[in-house]
């Protein structure tokens, strides 16, 4: 039996080992580092199934909790990181081209090591039950992301993305800290469990202080999950960042953000006066995010940017689930949605990397005629796009279905209506890719898209999972905490 804290500790140790290995030249090929990282993370993933009871004082102090939910998300994060590393191996030539190096390949090793540290941060984030812990974990994640986003130092757009992410990220961090201080001032606590206990005892005169803090924390986490109006960084950063990092941001960072949001908001849902305000704020955020994300995606021509808007749109559906959190199934629905979102988003990005390498860009037009060039890849992309749009018999359909069901049960008819209308527009923009692949002629000189073995295995597994869970969702529901 493994003490749960060792999970994160071993991930950090793995990261330090990889850094040393890189520094002392233990790995001849840079991609070897990625395989070591994948192996190490896979071992930690297996370790999550052999968790013993928590014995140490770390838990007692209320910083850290290991429950079904956090364990599920630790696995979620580990799988995401492994997939990001698989993608990064494919992406290595682009990194080496766009990173200045005295010797060939120098400076690209850290590209595989930074995600490991991010992974540790995300794993702490999903277990954090104290604002201090949340803040530290979040910073570990965000700071490592700053470097990753700006990694391609010869690419202007990567540098621009990094700068934007840094400045706006710093802004949101500022709001987070400020919000935490208001909580502390009003309740004398930073621990979520303790806050839950003292909340009902707070005199009404102090309520505005709490609400003020709550609003600021909501702003900071809204930034993380890309809720409108705190989403402006998303399209620029997603487009500029290296593709694996974009995928990482879109999936793992967003999922962990949602879990923290659930944990932070939970105490406030128990007190009616806070609940009403919070409910209103969430409904408005969800509505704005749904409408903005879906409408702004329509005219996009760049696939990465489109996925950026799509990730905003998905945040809208997830916020809808959060607004319906009073329903018994809503929590499960949000987790189900995130899991499906992981599968389909990674599938889309895994296909995007080799297509970008082969076609020289990541516009939708670069997918032209893919069905004839690489039918298998095109079929996988078709599955990904169908699932992102929410076509039946894909996991994306059930994700939306469960969220809508929970929202209906809570009487959020306006949101469900907006959801259904925006799903329709989703069909339009996701199917632009399908149209390009199946109805547009390929460029004259284009041949089949080269793809590594590992990537094709990952693509196959993800596509199959999307279909299997689209027919038999019970399989995943059974695993939900």
């Amino acid at each position: 039996m493994i003490d749960p804290v060792f999970l994160e500790v071993s991930v950090v140790v793995l990261g330090i080992f990889l850094l040393m290995a890189e520094a002392f030249g233990l790995a001849k090929e840079k991609s070897t580092l990625a395989w070591w990282a994948i192996g190490g993370l896979a071992a930690v993933f297996i370790g999550t199934f052999f968790i013993g009871p928590n014995s140490n004082s770390f838990e007692v102090s209320g910083f850290y909790v290991v429950d079904g939910l956090s364990l599920f998300f630790k696995r979620f994060v580990l799988i995401s990181t492994i997939l990001v590393l698989v993608m990064s191996v494919d992406y290595l030539p682009i990194v080496q081209r766009l990173v200045p190096a005295e010797r060939p390949g120098a400076g690209s090793g850290e590209f595989f090591i930074l995600p490991v540290f991010t992974c540790a941060g995300l794993m702490w984030m999903v277990s954090a039950t104290d604002f201090i812990m949340i803040f530290c974990a979040l910073e570990l994640v965000t700071i490592s992301f700053y470097i990753q986003v700006a990694y391609l130092r010869r690419s202007m757009s990567s540098l621009e993305a990094g700068t934007k992410y840094l400045i706006l990220g710093a802004l949101s961090t500022g709001f987070l800290v400020y919000g935490i201080t208001w909580f502390f001032g009003a309740t004398g606590q930073t621990n979520l469990v303790a806050i839950r206990e003292v909340l009902p005892l707070i005199p009404v005169a102090n309520h505005p202080a709490i609400l003020f803090g709550l609003a600021l924390v909501l702003v900071a986490l809204g930034f993380k999950i890309a809720a409108v109006p705190f989403q402006f960084w998303v399209p620029d950063v997603y487009q500029g960042a290296p593709t694996p990092v974009t995928a990482y941001l879109a999936v793992a960072s967003k999922a962990a953000g949602f879990l923290v949001l659930i944990r932070v908001l939970e105490p406030f849902f128990t007190v009616p006066s806070f609940q009403n305000k919070l409910f209103l704020a969430l409904v408005l955020l969800a509505l704005l995010t749904l409408v903005f994300g879906n409408l702004a995606a329509i005219p996009q021509t760049n696939f990465k940017r489109l996925l950026g808007y799509s990730s905003i749109a998905h945040a809208g559906y997830l916020l809808m689930g959060l607004a319906a959190i009073g329903d018994a199934f809503a929590g499960g629905a949000v987790v189900f949605y995130l899991s499906g979102y992981l599968l389909m988003t990674f599938l889309a990005f895994l296909i995007l990397v080799p297509v970008t390498k082969a076609s020289g860009g990541d516009d939708i037009a670069h997918f032209n005629g893919l069905a004839r060039r690489s039918p298998g890849l095109a079929l996988a992309m078709l599955i990904a796009a169908a699932s992102l749009a929410g076509v039946p018999f894909t996991v994306g359909f059930f994700g939306k279905f469960f969220i809508f069901e929970a929202a209906m049960n809570q009487g959020l008819y306006l949101l469900v209506l907006a959801g259904i209308v925006t799903v329709a527009s989703g069909f339009y923009y996701y199917f632009k890719v399908i149209r390009a692949m199946y109805w547009q002629p390929a460029p004259e000189d284009a041949g089949p898209v080269a793809i590594t073995k590992t990537s094709s295995v990952a693509i196959f597994i993800l596509a199959m999972l999307i279909l299997i869970l689209g027919v038999y969702p019970q399989l995943l529901i059974g695993m939900l905490p």
């Binding site: 609400l211 609003a215 402006f232 903005f292 329509i298 005219p299 339009y428």
Partner: protein, 603 residues
Amino acid sequence: MSTQTAPWIILFSPLAAAVLIFLIGRFSKTLSAGLAILSAATGCFLSWWLFRQTEVAPQLSLEWLNFGPELTITIGITLDHLSKVMLLVVTTISTLVFIYSTGYMRDEEGYTRFFAGLSLFLFSMLGIVLADNFVMMFIFWELVGVSSYILIGHYYSKDSAADAGKQAFIVNRIGDFGFMLGILLLWSATGTVAFSGLLSAIPGFEGAPVYLTVACVLVFMGTVGKSAQMPLHVWLPNSMEGPTPVSSLLHAATMVAAGVYMLARIFPILEVVPDAREIIAWVGGITCFCAALMATQQNDIKRILAYSTISQLGYMVLGIGVAPTSSEAMFHLFTHACFKCLLFLAAGSVMIAMHHETDMWHMGGLRKKTPVTMICFIAGMLALSGCPFTSGYFSKDLIIEWAVLKIPFLGWLAAAAAGLTAFYIFREFFVVFFGKARSEHAEHAHEQPVSMLVPMLILAVPALFAGLPMIQEHFFTLSHPDAHAVPHLLHPFLYAMFFGGAGLAALLYFKAEKDPVSIPLFANRLYIDDVYFWFVNKIQGGGSIVLSWADRWVVDLVIVQVPSKLTWACGFALRFLQIGSIQAYAFFFGAGVVGLLYIMLSK
């Protein structure tokens, strides 16, 4: 092997075969046929084994979709006497037809595709037989529709075949729509879709009786479509465009039998809604008579059999409507499966001998050229026409007896249809096998290979003898009406019908050169097809012009283009928020903070 796993193997081995044939079948014809036959034979063997098991373990049921307490859909197995007998029929007939197909299709295009289609078809049918709830049955019901579409349209480059496939699919869709509404009504009445739950909930149902009647009639619409009852029978004769083994499978054990099987499955529900059963009886009775009338004037050897199938299905549906249990209808389904399959296989054998000529007036004198085929045809013919002591005699007369007791008019109508049956099948027999050869092909016709003859000879045995009381009592528990209650005239009348029909056919068609009788009303199938054609052409065609206009100017322009352009414009406008300047982003961010604070702090 346990009684728990066997049904799953029976169900999924054809699917596995279909997938394997699809993946690797193109490498070898023998392999694909072998896989299909192996899967069917496995199912057949296990079905007989299951049938002999008296103790059946409780069946597994996987939870598939859980929509909360009101609706949970499972994938599960029903294994009772009814499904066991049906399994026997389906798997045995399928195995024989699959073997026959290796001979029939030997020179045809799309050999592997055909066997993949057959396996898929078998899988779908077995799903209907084994389903333990209405939703699962409906899914397989639709799968049967899809796979029949694939098989009927096998020669898809031929327009008539492609059209027949479409027609079968669309006409079935009309019936299925009612079926689905019926399922939903039953679900809303009882809150369950599982058969076991329905059967226990319905007898104590406390709503308006008319509600149940409507639900049952809607469910029956599924049967009307799938079992080709009037007025949705038109697709079945056209489905003859498919290869003959498909027709044989379609008409004997699968697809059309599904409708009757479904009624038998929900028979305990029907028992408490007498009004619905009366409607069912009338539809069945009228169909069995009218289809027999149409069959008397057809000239295509397969089409005659097709109308005969409709007519015989009418008997089964009538049986559901009048008999005290579902066993009587199932008994007829069982015997009919044997003899109709046999007749189709014989007809296929004749067709191959005739190089795909199907007009029987181009045949003639085949008794010398294809003697084995003729013997098999005779066996099927005697059973179909209700010759005393063949299988059809026992099963058909039983249904007629009950019908005469319950609804005398329908009973006598069905008895008269029996005479027509004898007439049209003997007519076909004499024209095909007797007289002079009336074409080049008929003169050079030759007997078929063993792979086709053996399945026919095997089927001839149950076609003749399966109805004998000492054999059928192993499969069915039949209830016979009180001998004194049945009018004394009935049995002599039925004998007279058989001998009269056969004799009249012999008189008119023995050595006939061309048809001495011409009744355009029957030859043109009571003009029902023409009415449909006129309706589709004029009414629907006229309507579609209006709708096309509306589609172009109202839907496309006002409802689609305007909102789509508007959305696009909104999206385009929103892009301008995304100006790329970080100062602006920070400003929007700040505005968002102020907005959120306003919401949170305002009273």
